[in-house]
Symmetry: D2
Subunit: 334 residues, 4 copies
């Protein structure tokens, strides 16, 4: 196939990387060029004919596009390599999601490693499709920002959130969201039968990214009060969102607003009024499913769910790649 896209995946033995390889291996327009893993170098890459290679032994210009499923800080440097080599780069880390080096430093308490790359198009196609199309570098948001922002966009676009009112997000994530590196936090016997809140209040690093994106549409958004929990399941993420509306919309009109907003989105589904979004509806799918429930005249409840490794990571990265190469947005995903 003349116009096959040759793809390389960095960090291909982590959970997001494994999922990326699985999706790319089944993508009709993609051929896998390499998959890196320092830990598993030399071993077979499941579902492909490749073997893992150490990241230091591959070069971006072996391929047309590189996906970076790397830890924070490690990612920006490889993105720079890719851009300098003239290949497209889909970054899945948080390194390039904040628009300025100053915002990065405020959130991560260290200087940005490559400020010359900023700003980078934010890779949430449902809100930023036109800037992702044909871009060379895209910063794909992770599971919490994707699931939460998709649960808020219709209200943000309509300007329907009460000004400066706290937006409460009680989020729950499966354990693959914590990465594959063993730790006591992810030990089976610690997680099983348990439920653990963490980064309570406003201490989670991705709050700044969510507020940045929300405020592009609503300057008086928030503050965002965000509390994630580690859920004793392998996959799936739920953002339970509690909002206060302003005079532009009653909670009873919210459901219809969401239906209209997402009517043409192939990877977002709004459930009928009364039905509730659950993890099972999205696990091993590429979709975000949303339910909207009126609570009081000015109070609405939104439940937004994704598979944290799919729409919250790997499949969204592929959706971005499709847009960047000008092919069908859902190729390999439906």
């Amino acid at each position: 196939m003349a116009n096959t896209i040759l793809a390389g995946v960095y960090g291909a033995s982590g959970y997001a990387g494994l999922e990326l390889v699985e999706i790319l291996a089944g993508h009709p327009a993609v051929e896998m060029g390499f998959a890196t893993s320092n830990t598993y170098a030399g071993e077979a890459v499941a579902g492909t004919a490749l073997r893992y290679r150490p990241s230091a032994e591959v070069s971006p210009n072996e391929v047309d596009v590189i996906f970076l499923a790397l830890p924070h800080k490690a990612s920006a440097a490889v993105a720079k390599l890719g851009i300098d080599a003239g290949v497209k780069v889909v970054d899945l880390s948080a390194d390039l999601r904040l628009d300025s080096a100053e915002a990065y430093e405020r959130a991560y308490h260290s200087p940005h490693p490559h400020p010359e790359l900023l700003p980078v198009p934010y890779g949430l196609p449902e809100s930023n499709r036109k800037n992702i199309k044909n871009a060379d570098l895209v910063a794909t948001p992770g599971c919490y920002p994707t699931t939460t922002l998709l649960g808020l966009y219709p209200l943000l676009r309509r300007g329907a959130l009460a000004a400066d009112a706290p937006v409460i997000v009680d989020a729950k994530s499966g354990v693959t969201g914590a990465g594959r590196k063993p730790s006591l936090t992810t030990h089976f016997a610690e997680v099983y039968s348990n439920l653990v809140p963490y980064k309570v209040g406003r201490s989670h690093r991705h709050i700044s990214e969510m507020e940045q994106e929300a405020r592009k549409l609503c300057a008086d958004f928030g503050p965002l009060i965000f509390c994630p929990h580690l859920l004793p399941v392998a996959r799936g993420l739920m953002s339970s969102i509690y909002v206060t509306l302003n005079a532009r919309l009653t909670s009873h009109q919210a459901h219809e607003l969401y239906c209209q907003n997402y009517a043409d989105e192939p990877l977002v589904e709004v459930l009928p009024l009364g039905a509730q979004a659950t993890l099972k509806q999205v696990v091993k799918t590429n979709s975000c499913v949303i339910s909207v429930t009126p609570v009081l005249e000015r109070q609405a409840h939104i439940t937004s769910v994704t598979d944290n490794l799919r729409k919250g990571a790997a499949s969204q990265a592929v959706q971005n790649m499709n847009l960047m190469f000008g092919i069908e947005e859902t190729a390999g995903l439906v």
Copy 2:
């Protein structure tokens, strides 16, 4: 032992009933008189020398106290029988928790079966100890009200909640909270790996009871926005509470307030600032564990956890019985 309390348990083969029997069987001042189960009549009652008897074949006056772990509506009639027989009654159902027949009818959409019994002391010892002591009939609250109210009492007592501001409670319960009767909702394959919100907004029946109790301390409390979720674990309940404070208290003072309020409570533990309450800390214990986190000057986050079958049901019922008989409040519980 001359002053042993002879106890009968109605509904002893449900999950709360089983737990009650287990606790009573180990209680130093209690002897089990009977345990009813229509489903398992004739079978041995684990941990005792008894066999289950059908409820129609026992009589309250065989014992000194009856515990009612019965379905709603079935419970009030047996409570009446017990009171008429002159024995003490610890009700675990919701039948007698609302103070008036009118409130009951608003919440349950049918007339109260025994309005002459109302009002009944609300069986949350940490807030209502003096009215439970020596009472003949007590209405023990269930898992959601207990866990949520214990998470709010210090602020309610201090009058520190912003007037008429929504209080958000995102709650998560293990499956035993849904009862032992088989249904598709509790089928292993439906629950496993899933997370399911239900009774979203203000549709859960126990909201009226929580608001009733909160407003006894703060007339301008709430509204309460309460969303429970079915968690894929067997036991444990978490209420994640998001509150707005008024000028009387900053969020940074809240933790100290909780520590002081609960300093002498044997079955409530407030964690050090920074530690977070998790399900594991309470499963198979009789305690409520609470963490308090400042979020913004006027916004605080409280996580309150209990074992839904213990402090959220059976052990709280025993705590009430201890008070009703004037013995050590934590007998059989520590």
Copy 3:
């Protein structure tokens, strides 16, 4: 598409039925004609444009092939209807798997409902492909027989099992294998954190079917000692098989024998020596994965795993349908 196969699924709201519909909806040569469910009649059938219809309101001759994911005893009668109507029938129940009415009566303690249909080709393609091809009626084996027999076939064909020596099968099944009808046995709180043996010894009804098939190849096979366990997972089945070999083969030659036997089978994978088959390798796949380990000169251990709803039920039924219609055996399955 001129030669599309129109398919009807009876019992389409059970776990095997749901899986069948999912597979058929994605099958390139199949169109769904109807899906029956008495419980969910009128509701939408996920992944299709259909609504469930009561089984009494559909007719086999609306379609080209009917799949019977029905309870034992209900199934044979519908198979008869289908055969009389001249359509092909893929039965997933145990009604037609034993070759004679006598054998059926011995195993099920009641007369066979339609002895005139017997014998029916046993629908395990890896052992009986030539008789399934172009058949009108096929009796698809379920999860335990499929997984166990695939774990034994190479030894049976080679005649390598010690004559009349017990073959031990310690099996473990996920809860979907017990069906979707709610019961205390499948209640989440009963299964979670538990492991439950059942039908210990030689009391499981499918033993007769496994011995029947094994003895077609080895008259002196067995007896089969089979103990299933209910595993606290939703999907997946493992048969742990302990065999004694005769002088024809040492345990060290067994692995190579399995590799050769299954070299051309698209849906059976033999792992390299030393690797062990696990549930994760097969969940949501259509394959059987097998590991073979020498233990002592004459003792070997075989682990055979399938997804009980796929190769152990729905996907094997589709594999049979493909053979019955003379199309590519793995159409819709790879």
Copy 4:
């Protein structure tokens, strides 16, 4: 209390160590002297007033008895220290369970670190009570040997196993059995929904110990074919045992034999014929529960279950300590 036993626990932050501390803290005749942990040194020891101390900073002669919940090889050296200091030693490791240095070297492929300590009384009270009583050093067996041997003892004592016939043990263990040190093997996302055989055949190190003990009663025992599996639960261990009997006993007599053998054992329960032992029956208890099922005239099936951290580790160690100090065997355990 004049005769309180002062106890020190080495390795007190592992799962067995944590369980030991919990049991000892509730033991009426014991006071905790120290608890070591190099990882958590300085942190509070739950349920006690102690803080963890590094093992190098404690001395056996601070206490009357030391418990060694240490890794293999580390344990023998501390046992030596304890013996030299004249305190009693309860070892939970495998270091001292084989009777000779030669047997140790065959099983562990390295020289025994302290052959002068061998042989040590094997700490399974139900088979070796008289040698444990008043001993200074006892080697407590772990979860697999304890559960398996208790499932075999009545047959071994009766001499009822067919000579030299393989005894098949298909075992399943909860994840705490693999220890608390994080690894990919125990990562939640790897274990959840999975079932993994390991050390298949005769490669598990504890086989030599089980055969040693069995052969003390039956010289022609075995060989033992033992296959453990990692089960996706936190606690609990099941040994599924398949035996061939000789002419001394039919399988139908086996159940009665077990009932008689264990009639006076406080921590072993034989279920009525027909009931099956399950994990739930033993989790968080100190008992071994056994079911015995006749299969064929000469074939029987035994299911033996324990809580791997209790009767399979910590509570058995305490049972041994009670015997070693001449106090009530079940003190602190019932």
